[in-house]
Structures are given as structure tokens and as C-alpha cells.
């Protein structure tokens, strides 16, 4: 079980949220080549280290947010403040 720091609801059990995966910059759909777009869709850094990732607080505030988590230890850091627009929809 993970205790995920939702910036709006505070620490929540991970089963209350939906995991949205790595937060990567989205290429511009108007100019991206199919290869770039598929790279964004499928390829992942998948580090055993700190990772920026998206979560959806489905049983609480029902908002998406971005946090950093160490994938080797499952420690979270820098929960973003309300109003922080990083990440957006995953």
C-alpha cells in the first residue's frame, strides 16, 4: 500500500486513486510525426529512481495531479500546491 499525497485531499491510500504513469511532455499533435507520437504513447524512461508521475484522485477530489516518487523506495516528495497546473490530464 502507498500513501499518496494528494495536494487537495492530503495523504490517501493508493487504492483510492488511479495511477496515471510517467508524466512526459506531450508533443504537439499538429506537428508531431507518427513516430514521435508513438514514442510519446509507448516508450518510457522507467527509472529505478525519482520519477515525475500523474495520479487521479478518483475517490476524493477527482482531480489529476503530478508528484515525484522514488520508484525504488516508494517515497514521495514535493507534493504540488493547489493551483499548480503541471501534468494535466494523463
Amino acid at each position: 500500500m502507498l500513501l499518496v499525497p494528494c495536494p487537495y485531499c492530503g495523504p490517501r491510500n493508493s487504492v483510492d486513486l488511479r495511477y496515471g504513469g510517467e508524466s512526459q511532455p506531450r508533443p504537439d499533435p499538429a506537428t508531431a510525426t507518427p513516430e514521435q507520437w508513438r514514442g510519446y504513447l509507448y516508450r518510457r524512461d522507467n527509472p529505478a529512481d525519482w520519477l515525475r508521475e500523474n495520479w487521479y484522485c478518483r475517490s476524493g477530489c477527482r482531480r489529476w495531479f503530478t508528484v515525484e516518487r522514488n520508484t525504488a523506495t516508494n517515497e514521495f516528495r514535493h507534493p504540488p500546491m493547489p493551483g499548480d497546473k503541471r501534468g494535466g490530464k494523463a
Binding site: 514514442g39 516508450r43 524512461d45
Partner: protein
């Protein structure tokens, strides 16, 4: 291959009933089944990962292609990763024609493995039941049965009455919340002793001169000519490996890791379509044999088999969050127990002995990533998700052919890394996993 030991003049290393009696009377230790060697400065090929995939690749390189100057490197001990943590199920009842052909070849190799490797892998061909609890999964079962039959794989859809005959302990009544409506029955499926497969491949590869190096961690892959930093990345080529025991020069590196596939590939500048998730499994105390087949329920996220020792082995879906931590969780045990009892109310008094987890490299289409990568000399055999053990023999055979010939064998062509650039995915989610 029945005379591995004799042929290589290493004394009575062959396993047989006579050898057992002779050793039993004479006493003393059995010889170690693979040697420890000094790490050389150069090899024809280096395989990263000493699990079933890496060892099988080394074995087939030596046996089928005569490439024996091979080192298998593992940062821990042989079989310490997914090879020693899986639930040991083998089957070929997949959904896509590419998948069925591939896993069927693997099953054939498992069938003759005991004689090929002269080791008892305890292959128990006991049949495999995939339960359907709703109309849509029943439809997928029919689909799989038809694809299987077309390729000559024995699968059929059976109803609750026949299920009751095959596995009487299952509750086929209409009482459960998710009643059993039917099942895909696949008689050639079964279970294999996973550790014996690791040891068998290691012993046979060792006999032919392959070196296994345990506690040898790969720190970097040395490349030149690539687009990225230090000559890594597409367009470059592999020149060596930096390990915790020194540098090795080699023209070929095969990444056969599970759990660390992304990290090893990143060392060569290759970015994979993989996220790493833990999968939890559990085992009960042993009881008398009552479950004659492997039972799988996709809707209930569980698969069950009874070992020859009598323990029930349970597996589940991967945990939803990508992580390299393999800590178990209480939610897993609770959910597992609830679902198993829904299928088999009779086991309510059985106690769990332990639970564990292993790392699974999940790909977007639930098919593996095999073959060449764009970096010359760097090959991958990764992305094995929750289905790596059953694919080990054929993966080794095909990867060895790719290394030896420099061409992608037909059987693994659909699983090339480039399919994620062209969008030609091989969707196996309907048959490869229980978590959907």
C-alpha cells in the same frame, strides 16, 4: 543430449537411476553442476541476466550454433529473479496467431526438456482451465479456442458440467457473485519445476563451455559511433561491458533481464516501451492432491495450481503502480483469499504459508520485445510481463539464432522493438494476463 556428462568426459555427471543408487551406496557429495570461472577480458557474446531466458539463450548458442565463448552475467545468483518467483505454469492457448505459434513451440521444447537436458524438470501436463464468468469472456474463450484449433493447439470451450468433472472442487453452481459460465480447456498446459529448468540449462551450457558469472553486476554497456552521449544510442555499436569485476570487450550483448530491462537497455541508449510492476504470489500449506488442473480466472484476477508437494500456488495480476519495490501488501492477500474462496469454498480452512513478489516488465500490448534494437550488437529479450517462464525455451532458441545469424527469425519477427514505431502491436492482453 542424453549423454551430456559422458560426452564431455567429466565423469559420472549424468543423472540416472543407476547413478542415484551408485552415489547412494558410495556416499559423498554430488559434483557441483556448473563451475566458477575467472572473468575473462573478452567474449564472443555476453548475456546479461542469469535466469531461464539468459541461460536458455546461452545453451542454444552453444548447442545449435557452436558459439561457446559466452559469458552469462547475473548481479545476484542464477534464477534469483523472476525465474525463481514465477508460478511455473506453461500453456500455449493464446489469442493472436503470432502468440499461439510462439508459445506452442515453447511447450514442445518443455515436453522434451527432461531428456534434452538430462534433468528432471517435473513437467506435469495436467491441463489448464481458463474460467469465464460473463458473456464477454466466454466470447474471448471461443475466439481463443478457434485460433488455437486453426494452429493445431488443443483447446476447446466446455460448460459447467464438464468443468465439474475436470475439477470437482470448483463451485460451478449459480450461487457465487461471479458464477462460472464456461471455460477454455487446454489439456497440454501444465506446470514445471522452475528451479530445475534454471539448473538444467546452466548445467548443460556449462558442459559445453559457457561461463556463468554470479554476483557480477553490469554497470555500463560500452558503445561507439551512436547518436547519444559516449557513442550510445541508435546507429552505434557495442564494444564491451563494464561490470563490477572489471571491463569485458565483446561485440554482442543480449539483455535477458526481467525487472531491470529498461535500466540495462538505457546503458546502450535504447529506450523501451516498458514499465516495471511487481506481481505478488502466495502459497498455502501442503494438503492431499485434490486439484488436478491449473485453474485461471481473469475476472477474479487469480490463477491456482497444486504442486506435487500438495501446496496451492496462487498468482494474481500485477500491482497497478509501477515500482521496483517488491514489498508485499495486505490488500493482495485479502483480495486473493476472497476470490479463491469464491471459486473453491472448500479451501476456507487452509492457511497461507507465505507470499512473495517479483518484478514484471509490462509492455503496452502484453507481448514481449525481442531481437535487434538499432544499436549494432545489442539485442533484447525483454518485456516478458507475466508470461516469461512459459516462453523461456523458445526465446532462448530464437534469440540464439538471431545472435548467430544476424537476422531476425520468423517466429519472433512480430515481437520486434520497431513495432512500437510503426504501430503494429500484437495485442495479447485478452490471453496473457488476468488483470483486465
Amino acid at each position: 543430449m542424453g549423454s551430456l556428462g559422458r560426452r564431455l568426459g567429466r565423469g559420472p555427471a549424468k543423472y540416472s537411476a543407476a547413478a542415484l543408487v551408485w552415489r547412494g551406496l558410495r556416499g559423498g557429495q554430488w559434483p557441483r553442476i556448473w563451475r566458477d570461472a575467472e572473468l575473462k577480458r573478452s567474449y564472443d557474446a555476453v548475456i546479461v541476466g542469469g535466469g531461464v531466458h539468459g541461460l536458455a539463450t546461452a545453451y542454444y548458442l552453444a548447442r545449435n550454433h557452436g558459439i561457446k565463448d559466452v559469458a552469462v552475467l547475473d548481479k545476484a545468483y542464477l534464477g534469483s529473479g523472476a525465474s525463481g518467483r514465477n508460478t511455473a505454469i506453461v500453456r500455449a492457448n493464446y489469442l493472436t496467431p503470432e502468440g499461439v505459434a510462439f508459445y506452442d513451440r515453447s511447450l514442445q521444447l518443455y515436453n522434451t526438456m527432461a531428456t534434452d537436458l538430462n534433468i528432471n524438470v517435473m513437467f506435469s501436463e495436467r491441463g489448464h482451465l481458463t474460467l469465464a464468468h460473463n458473456d464477454s469472456s466466454l466470447r474471448t474463450m471461443h475466439w481463443r479456442a478457434e485460433v488455437n484449433k486453426l494452429q493445431g493447439v488443443d483447446s476447446s470451450v466446455i460448460g459447467p458440467d464438464e468443468i465439474k468433472k475436470v475439477a470437482p472442487s470448483l463451485d460451478t453452481s449459480s450461487h457465487p457473485r461471479y458464477p462460472i459460465l464456461g471455460a477454455l480447456y487446454h489439456p497440454p498446459g501444465g506446470i514445471v519445476r522452475h528451479d530445475a529448468v534454471v539448473w538444467g540449462y546452466a548445467r548443460a551450457a556449462d558442459c559445453m563451455g559457457v561461463e556463468m558469472h554470479q554476483k557480477t553486476e553490469v554497470l555500463d554497456i560500452l558503445c561507439e559511433g551512436g547518436d547519444g552521449t559516449d557513442g550510445k544510442g541508435p546507429g552505434g555499436r557495442v564494444v564491451g561491458v563494464r561490470t563490477s569485476r572489471g571491463d569485458i570487450s565483446t561485440p554482442v550483448v543480449v539483455n535477458c533481464t526481467a525487472g531491470w530491462a529498461s535500466l540495462i537497455s538505457a546503458m546502450a541508449g535504447v529506450r523501451l516501451p516498458i514499465t516495471t510492476h511487481p506481481l505478488q504470489a502466495a502459497v498455502t500449506e501442503p494438503v492431499k492432491v485434490f486439484l488436478p488442473t491449473v485453474v485461471v480466472s481473469g475476472s477474479l484476477h487469480v490463477y491456482i495450481s497444486q504442486t506435487d508437494r500438495g501446496e496451492l500456488v496462487f498468482g494474481a495480476a500485477v500491482d497497478p503502480v509501477a515500482t521496483y519495490s517488491i514489498r508485499g501488501s495486505l490488500e493482495f492477500t485479502e483480495e486473493l483469499a476472497g476470490h479463491v474462496l469464491e471459486l473453491m469454498p472448500g479451501v476456507s480452512r487452509m492457511r497461507l504459508l507465505r507470499q512473495w513478489s517479483g518484478l514484471c516488465d509490462m509492455t503496452p500490448d502484453y507481448s514481449p520485445v525481442m531481437g535487434f534494437t538499432g544499436v549494432d550488437g545489442f539485442l533484447v529479450d525483454v518485456g516478458w510481463g507475466t508470461y516469461g517462464f512459459k516462453a523461456a525455451p523458445v526465446s532462448g532458441e530464437q534469440m540464439a539464432e538471431a545472435v548467430a545469424t544476424g537476422r531476425t527469425p520468423e517466429l519472433i519477427a512480430p515481437f520486434a522493438l520497431s513495432r512500437f514505431d510503426t504501430g503494429e502491436l500484437v495485442g495479447e492482453k485478452g490471453a496473457a494476463a488476468v488483470g483486465h
